[in-house]
């Protein structure tokens, strides 16, 4: 469980996050939504100390993150960043690097690391590409390799910054189902999403951010009823009940 209390963070002298109070609970998919530049990615980065917070406290299972070294933090939280580099290595090797934080002397990956990497590749459906070079894959498949690497890290908390980017709709749905499955196993999954329909359909909890602050949080139904989406994004949200559940539509004000 991650507990953020009165957290402020930013870049240099510019404060982006103001007084954030947030609990990220295990067994739930928490989705961060908000307009561009509202601080969603900065919030994730502050949790893994990429953008260290300037005030307040962030604790993982009761331990302050600044007290944990890089390896200990990576054994509790995995992070899929928004901007990614494309390395010139095989898919298997890259997914295997998800196990880096567990490397011990003599610094060779163990049998269980290979097994975990294989499982992660199977989970996202890229096991047949294991010996392919990542740089030769399409953007969507590269995204899946990154997701598999984060899954191979096998942490109680998974942070994903726009994980559905580059994925076609079928793979987006599969990813969201994977997130639900991980949450069902007791993991805390946090995702930054721009697709509000998916956020409403798959999230257990939605956190709405605007200008560096959390303006609403709760279950999707609570957030929908509060009309905070309308005011934050300056759109009108409407929904219709269908055989596959609620479908959400948006139109500009």
């Amino acid at each position: 469980m991650i507990e953020m209390k009165n957290v402020c963070a930013g870049y240099g002298n510019e404060e982006v996050l103001h007084n954030i109070n947030l609990s990220i609970e295990p067994g739930k998919v928490t989705v961060l939504v908000g307009p561009n530049g509202c601080g969603k990615s900065t919030l994730l980065k502050s949790i893994i100390r990429l953008n260290p917070h300037t005030s307040g406290t962030i604790a993982v299972d009761g331990d302050l993150i600044e007290k944990l070294d890089s390896s200990a933090l990576a054994q509790r939280i995995s992070y899929l960043p928004q901007g990614k580099k494309v390395p010139d290595i095989t898919v298997r090797r890259m997914v295997l690097h998800g196990r880096f934080t567990y490397l011990k002397y003599p610094r060779h990956y163990r049998k269980q690391d290979y097994e975990m990497a294989q499982k992660a590749m199977e989970w996202v459906g890229i096991e047949e590409l294991a010996e392919k070079n990542v740089s030769q894959l399409s953007g969507g498949t590269q995204q899946k390799v990154y997701i598999a690497m984060a899954l191979a890290q096998d942490t109680p908390v998974i942070l994903m910054d726009e994980p559905t980017a580059y994925l076609d709709i079928g793979h987006q749905m599969k990813l969201m189902e994977t997130a639900k499955a991980l949450a069902a196993k007791g993991k805390a999954v946090v995702m930054v999403l721009h697709d509000l329909t998916q956020a409403f359909r798959f999230a257990d909890r939605i956190v709405v951010m605007s200008e560096g602050e959390i303006v609403a949080q709760g279950m999707p139904e609570e957030v929908y009823q509060s009309a905070v989406i309308d005011t934050t994004f300056r759109v009108c949200v409407e929904r219709m009940f269908t055989e596959s559940g609620w479908q959400y539509f948006y139109k500009s004000e």
């Binding site: 933090l73 990614k84 010139d88 690097h97 880096f100 934080t101 610094r107």
Partner: protein, 331 residues
Amino acid sequence: MNKSRKRIFIAVAVLLVLGIILSVSLGAVCLTPAQLVNAIKNGSGSGLEGNIFWYVRVPRTIACLLAGAGLAVSGVVIQSVLSNKLASPGIIGVNAGAGFAVTVCCALGALSGWALAGSAFIGALLAVLLVVGAAQKMNASRTTVILGGVAVNSFLNAGSEAIITLFPDIGVMSSDFRVGGFTSVTMTRLLPAGILILIGLCVLFTLCNELDLMNLGEETAQGLGLPVKKMRTIFLAVAALLAGASVSFAGLLGFVGLIIPHIARRLVGGENRHLLPFCAIGGAAFVVLCDLAARLVFQPYEIPVGILMSFIGGPFFVFLLFKNKGGHRRD
């Protein structure tokens, strides 16, 4: 390791062994196989051939191997840490920093192998930290890092020239040193630098996974548990150690750290557990063969190997620039 990669490794290793045999045999005086065997058996006391073998050819060949391996591996590390495939120790000012430090050291009269190798390391380290530190502070693009390196190169080379002008008697800055060459290598000068290069290579071979992670970018690497800032400093320090120690006896040998990593990536891929050893072997083979060519092509004259490498490396660099055309747009 897959079969094709294994074949490539074996082919380059064979090339290296062949290069070593030719390097100790050929030159102004050619040694026959029988003379070679005799020199090896009887040591330096086996007449003129023995002296040539032990005091000229062996130090020179070892110097080629060490400089080739050191500069090529240093190039891979610098390219990975800077995420810039145009970077190399010769281009971003690392070699020039080492050269400047060696010049200062000689001007001060400290001519021992350890003093030269140590000062070269410090000069190389300061140069790379200056370029990388400034680039990070300014959030500079890849092209700007290269231009910054070129500026540091010019500045440090001008500094070296100024010292030579003021202290004309210091022997180290011969034309051989300025362009890179092995004619004046001795075992005394080679030994300390060789130890440092071997230490640097051993350290890097244990950090292949960490270097792979650096290639994934700072955010991903940190998310995977790599202490990125600490590791960046360690990698740059080891790259400076390799390049600096090489410069201390080989002079300002350019382009090895640029050409070899590019060719190696094409042949064995980007996984550092394959790439680093391959660059070490490939760099050593490349420098040994280039040195051999520099000795033999214009016989009876011998040109410094750095000149030959610049003839190869210059066009290669331009090729890379065109291949990455608009590199600044991709930043």
